[in-house]
Amino acid sequence: MNSLPAPPPEARRPSPLRKYLKIFRVSLTERLVYRADFFLATVLRFLPMVTTILLWSAIYDGADSPEIGGFERRQMIAYLLLVHISRMFSSMPGLAFSIARDIRDGSLKKYLLQPLDMIAYLVSYRAAHKAAYIATTALPYALLFFLCREYFDGFPDALTLAAYVASLLLGFLVGFFFEAALGLAGFWFLEVTSLLYIVNTVNFFVSGQMLPLDVLGEPWAGLLKALPFKYMAYFPAVVFLGKVRGWDLVLGLLAEAAWAALFIVASRLLYRSGLRRYSAYGG
């Protein structure tokens, strides 16, 4: 047989969505190789929480009023626990770094050679990573929240809970595309490590991981609440605690969706112009 095999006809092809679902599944298998590591990392992450709780207890003991920034002692500790759940969705360890590294060492090639979109691929991969992480750490987290149940006023109502889940999922998108855009800066700068370090350090504070943004007082609280970073930690936590309700909640979610859309568009544009530069100069 010496004739060239014809490419498979278009009609027989499964939809492109299947492609990324498959990437999700294969990635899930790969990430589950590391399940023991996830489990251990989670348990170890609980240790600093104990010190945080003790610290805030001491602060409240020394405070003049029972409330700080509108948070009672119980709420404050509940907030700090909930921030961990927010971060479970919005944190993207290593994403920006690995994009920048792929650009630098040329691994980016595989996305150019194959009928594959890098960003869609990375979203599928990261979603699988998150799913594997959440699945393997669900048990220790459930135990932790059970032990800390006295800090909560029980579960919020169904609508709030739905809004909470939506804010977490949108938080995943905001976190992902924000990091991705940072990593894509690697098309222009050889080294992005220090940029990432600064952003992560600042983010720890401005996203409300360290303390609720309300504690800062005006105008800082208002300013930071207008920025997208709060969706990576603060916002889902206060939604769960029932501190944002009614129209504020709807507007908050809409703004979160808008930020997600903005970062999606930004990373697309960066990717496209980055590729043009890469193909012209590097490779």
Binding site: L4, P5, K22, T29, K109, K110, L112, L113, P115
Partner: protein, 336 residues
């Protein structure tokens, strides 16, 4: 219609000039100086369907840059190319489904998973129908003789086995054009030979066009009848491997064996003595003088055995590279 057609392909890189030392680096922050580096210049060639062609050239000659342009990774500064009827750097999916680039130094497979999982992923990436995919995997694993290994995590495989898996992955979507950049780099001789055998078989069976770069002359001799020699961005030779000797070889190697323990004196006047082993001697003799020299030697000495050969191919190639460099320096001044 040729499968690959390159016309005046030229690629110029702009490289930032770094000054030495801390002061230089600081100065570079303020004002950067760039130098233009011509990686490939006016390279034109065509490749017909089913051909196996080797790209030869020293490091930095422009082989990989040319492969990168043909696979659409980079745009040329000037010139055009068509591969499988497409402009490669448009990166259309129709084109990308029909070719593959394998780089011996890069690995595409998932490190912690069995190759079979990576194959599954390829199936989805290239949207291959299930039945066709199964058939291809079966054929390829048999051909490369890796049956059971596909279910072992890739990190546990030897380099040779991993390369076979890389090739299988690259062939799953049945590309019509296979670009190979150093496919046997770092492999032992046995693994090299197996890979060569498989590639050759695959080319014969399927008529897949292959363009490869390699530093191993053995690869080239085993696989390709036609070679393109590129040095300093210029295509200096395009033709049969054997033809290199005719075009660039100005000398022949005359091997002589004398009776006794050692060769006689005075051989230097006939040509350059390149090797002495006991009573055997190798002489480099200019082609035009071979007959005359042999006659003179036979008249003067007693010779037990003799032969006239072409110089070894790798030495010839080194010489072609050397000439390319000299020509380049003549045109541009010696390298700084």
């Amino acid at each position: 219609m040729p499968l690959i057609e390159a016309v005046n392909l030229t690629k110029t890189y702009r490289v930032a000039q770094k000054k030495e030392g801390v002061l230089g680096a600081l100065r570079g922050l303020v004002r950067r100086e760039y130098k233009e580096v011509r990686a490939v210049e006016d390279v034109s060639f065509t490749i017909e369907p089913g051909e196996m062609v080797a790209f030869l050239g020293p490091n930095g000659a422009g082989k990989t840059t040319t492969l990168k342009m043909l696979s659409g990774l980079i745009y040329p500064t000037r010139g055009t190319a068509r591969a499988l009827g497409h402009v490669p750097w448009d990166r259309e999916d129709v084109f990308r489904r029909r070719f593959a680039l394998v780089m011996g130094q890069k690995n595409q497979l998932w490190w912690d998973l069995p190759a079979a999982d990576s194959f599954q992923l390829h199936k989805e990436i290239y949207s291959l129908p299930e039945d066709e995919f199964r058939r291809t995997v079966g054929e390829l694993t048999e051909m490369f003789d890796v049956g059971k290994l596909t279910s072992q995590p890739v990190r546990e495989l030897s380099l040779g086995e991993r390369m076979k898996m890389e090739l299988i992955a690259a062939l799953l979507h049945r590309p019509q054009l296979l670009l190979l950049d150093e496919p046997t780099i770092g492999l032992d001789v046995v693994a090299q030979v197996t890979i060569q055998k498989c590639l050759k078989e695959y080319n014969a069976d399927r008529g897949v066009t292959m363009l490869l770069t390699s530093h191993y002359m053995r690869d080239v001799e085993a696989l390709c009848r036609r070679v393109l020699v590129i040095t300093h961005g210029h295509l200096v030779y395009d033709g049969a491997l054997a033809g290199i000797t005719e075009q660039f070889g100005s000398t022949k190697v005359v091997k002589l064996q004398f009776p006794g323990e050692a060769p006689p004196d005075g051989l230097e006047e006939f040509g350059e003595v390149t090797e002495r082993a006991g009573p055997s001697v190798s002489l480099n003799v200019e082609r035009s003088r071979v007959a005359e020299v042999l006659e003179a030697i036979l008249r003067r000495y007693t010779v037990l055995d003799m032969s006239v050969q072409d110089p070894p191919l790798d030495r010839m190639i080194a010489r072609v590279f050397e000439q390319g460099r000299a020509a380049h320096e003549l045109a541009t001044g010696p390298a700084a």
